[in-house]
């Protein structure tokens, strides 16, 4: 099967990455040029390549727009790779950081620590988010494991929905009890790339890059694991260690993206499934492509979030949900 597929992918693989990266750069520049004041693409390019602090447009590009675009690239890549990994490990087409409760777990932990305990050290936030994501994943997996029939796609998504709804209600209660503190967190809680905190972004970066490196390093083994635990063990892989590493990567990627942008649902569902349509099932292709496509996807989504109701800007997380939920319903219909 793979023998017949590889040459074809091999030819495609030589041209496609270049085309994909070119599209990503284009999306990046478009994202920067769009805004309250449209800045023409040549000016954007000049601002990046030959920055001149005397020119106002250059200041806008470098100080305001580039950081947001960079966050979109990083978060989009992180969530998509995390989603692809989760789908491979659980062999569940509906697995995704948002649907399985990791995003809300991380957000809940951050809200608890920042809002209730009043600790806002930027270095602490990714760590807290990681702890929250891990705890939520454990609870969701535990419920699904205890359910009759084991962790089938249905029970996993149901227990993810239950944990998400529960933590969501607790966050709302906490925000009612202390409205002043939570006013600042409210926009972040809906998933927004607006005004990423530089310090938090810098602290989240090692988590994100570490997660990406581990994920890409696991790509070969993931392809075997996606065929079943027995197949993977038969090929001489240490399945337990592989799953633990994949979980660590997923948690680090989720934590970093929540720290930077809050919970952005459905990105990890939409992008890997889209990628599989042309890249096949080989994780050596799926994972890198998910990173590239996820980055481009979130850039475009963020442009839409700023343009659709302009001059009002809606949260990026709302747009990812509006686009992702129909795809989720379609997957339920097609794959289950």
């Amino acid at each position: 099967m793979t023998g017949a597929a590889l040459p074809r992918h091999g030819r495609a693989a030589s041209v496609a990455p270049a085309a994909g990266l070119a599209l990503l750069v284009l999306a990046f520049l478009w994202h920067i040029s769009v805004g309250a004041k449209t800045i023409p693409l040549p000016v954007v390019a000049r601002a990046i390549l030959a920055y001149d602090p005397e020119i106002f447009d250059h200041l806008v590009v470098i100080d305001l727009r580039v950081p947001r675009a960079v966050s979109a690239v990083l978060v989009g890549a992180a969530l998509s790779v995390a989603g692809a990994l989760m789908q491979g490990v659980t062999r569940n087409p509906l697995a995704e950081p948002g649907l399985l409760g990791l995003l809300i777990g991380a957000s809940f932990a951050v809200v608890l620590v920042v809002g209730v305990l009043d600790l806002a050290a930027p270095g602490l936030i990714p760590l807290v988010a990681a702890a929250g994501a891990l705890a939520a994943a454990a609870v969701v997996w535990g419920i699904a494991l205890a359910a009759p029939g084991g962790p089938a796609p249905l029970t996993l998504v149901l227990s993810g929905a239950a944990v998400s709804a529960f933590l969501g209600a607790l966050v709302t209660i906490a925000s009612l009890l202390d409205e002043e503190t939570f006013d600042q967190l409210r926009v972040w809680m809906t998933g927004s790339l607006a005004g990423p905190d530089r310090a938090v972004t810098l602290w989240a970066l090692p988590w994100l890059l570490g997660g990406l490196v581990v994920a890409l390093g696991l790509a070969r083994q993931m392809t075997a694991l996606a065929m079943g635990d027995e197949v993977a063990a038969g090929l001489g892989l240490n399945v337990g260690r592989l799953k633990a590493l994949a979980l660590a990567a997923v948690v680090a990627l989720t934590a970093a993206s929540v720290a930077m942008a809050g919970p952005l649902g459905f990105v990890g569902l939409v992008v890997p499934h889209g990628v599989r349509l042309f890249a096949g099932q080989d994780y050596r292709l799926v994972l890198p492509w998910s990173a590239i496509a996820g980055a481009a996807y979130l850039l475009v989504v963020d442009v839409a979030a700023r343009l659709v109701l302009a001059p009002v800007e809606i949260s990026t997380g709302l747009v990812t949900a509006l686009l992702g939920a129909p795809i989720f319903v379609w997957l339920v219909k097609r794959r289950l």
């Binding site: 249905l154 149901l158 227990s159 929905a161 209600a169 809906t190 009002v312 809606i314 509006l322």
Partner: protein
């Protein structure tokens, strides 16, 4: 199964009065009475039980007490009872018709559909009369219910889980659309809509109580008429068809009824989650009963639940008021998890 329960122990089939269920119903009603009195007493202007009784009977000891009871606490308590009853019967009907123990108007997006319709009205046409809200909510909820049915029911029967998952997806979509609408709207209208969306009875007045009461009066006869097809459908579609029920049309009519019940409640108090899920299960735990009595028991349980949730929400963190919808969510979700954990045959049987 006609009017009573078939006793299985002694040979000949006999019909017995459902003593236990009737006793539980009486107890629930007493509990509701106690809750109403307690919620009339509690608050930033506390009253004794005697003062409450005197005020309700028209011999108020103080003007302040009269205002507090008649203007604020009594309509609020009544709205909680009506809404709880409506949500609970809606959930009970949905659970029997879809043969899915997890069915709940808010879990499958019906509440969110009603919510989107009402929020659209609040934001786009804030001057729309209050009385039209239930109609709008009904239209929104019905549209969503129809959408979920068509999306989930294409494939073979027994697609109950797909029904719930499709509902989760549709609910996520509508929730995002509602939030987007709130960002777009004027801030004061958005705030009004936001309070309503949390599911709260704190702002109701007598108009709202009248609307809820009217809805109950309108829908109660329909519910009574629904008992016969429900009783048949409870046994499964094949047996129901054998009993002479036209399964397809009956299902559509019953789901429409369930949607109407939930929509009436959502229109006034917002999407109060998980009441429609827990109340029927709790009622069944308290007493197994025939469909008609099960619906009454569910309604009473739902009314008691929402009244208790509202009372807890406004006393626990006083002076902050926690909307009843959040209290019911925090209580209801663990129950939902327990239902997922039950062995499979139980999970689909009712």
């Amino acid at each position: 199964m006609a009017d009573g329960m078939i006793s299985r122990l002694d040979g000949p089939v006999t019909f017995v009065l459902p003593v236990r269920a009737l006793a539980v119903l009486a107890l629930l009603c007493a509990g509701i009475g106690t809750l109403v009195v307690a919620s009339l007493m509690a608050g930033s202007y506390p009253l004794t039980a005697g003062e409450v009784a005197a005020t309700v009977l028209g011999r108020a000891p103080s003007d302040m007490g009269e205002t507090v009871v008649w203007q604020f606490r009594l309509p609020r308590a009544l709205a909680a009872l009506f809404a709880g009853g409506l949500f609970a019967t809606s959930g009970a009907v949905l659970q029997i018709v879809t043969r899915n123990a997890l069915a709940d108007p808010s879990l499958i997006g019906v509440s969110q559909g009603a919510g989107l319709a009402v929020v659209t009205a609040i934001v786009v046409a804030p001057d729309l009369p209050h009385v039209l809200r239930p109609a709008l909510a009904f239209a929104g909820a019905l549209a969503v219910a129809a959408l979920i049915q068509t999306l989930a029911m294409r494939r073979a029967e027994g697609a109950t889980m797909r029904f719930i998952l499709t509902g989760i997806g549709v609910a996520a979509f509508i929730a995002a659309a509602t939030s987007a609408l709130l960002t777009y709207g004027q801030i004061d209208q958005a705030m009004a809509a936001l309070g309503w969306l949390a599911g709260s009875v704190h702002a109701v007045g007598w108009t709202d109580v009248a609307i809820l009461g009217g809805a109950c009066a309108l829908l109660a006869p329909a519910l009574a008429a629904a008992a016969r097809p429900l009783r048949a459908l409870r046994l499964g579609p094949e047996l129901a068809a054998g009993l002479g029920v036209r399964v397809g049309p009956a299902r559509i009519a019953l789901i429409t009824l369930a949607v109407a019940l939930a929509a009436a409640a959502v229109a006034i108090v917002g999407p109060l989650g998980f009441v429609g899920l827990i109340a029927p299960h709790l009622a069944q735990r308290l007493a197994r009963a025939d469909v008609g009595l099960h619906l009454s028991l569910s309604a009473a349980t739902g009314a008691a639940l929402v009244a208790a949730a509202d009372l807890a929400g406004r006393t626990v963190a006083d002076p902050v008021q926690i909307p009843a919808g959040l209290v019911t969510a925090v209580v209801g979700i663990p129950v939902f998890v327990l239902l997922i954990l039950r062995p499979t045959p139980e999970a689909t049987r009712l």
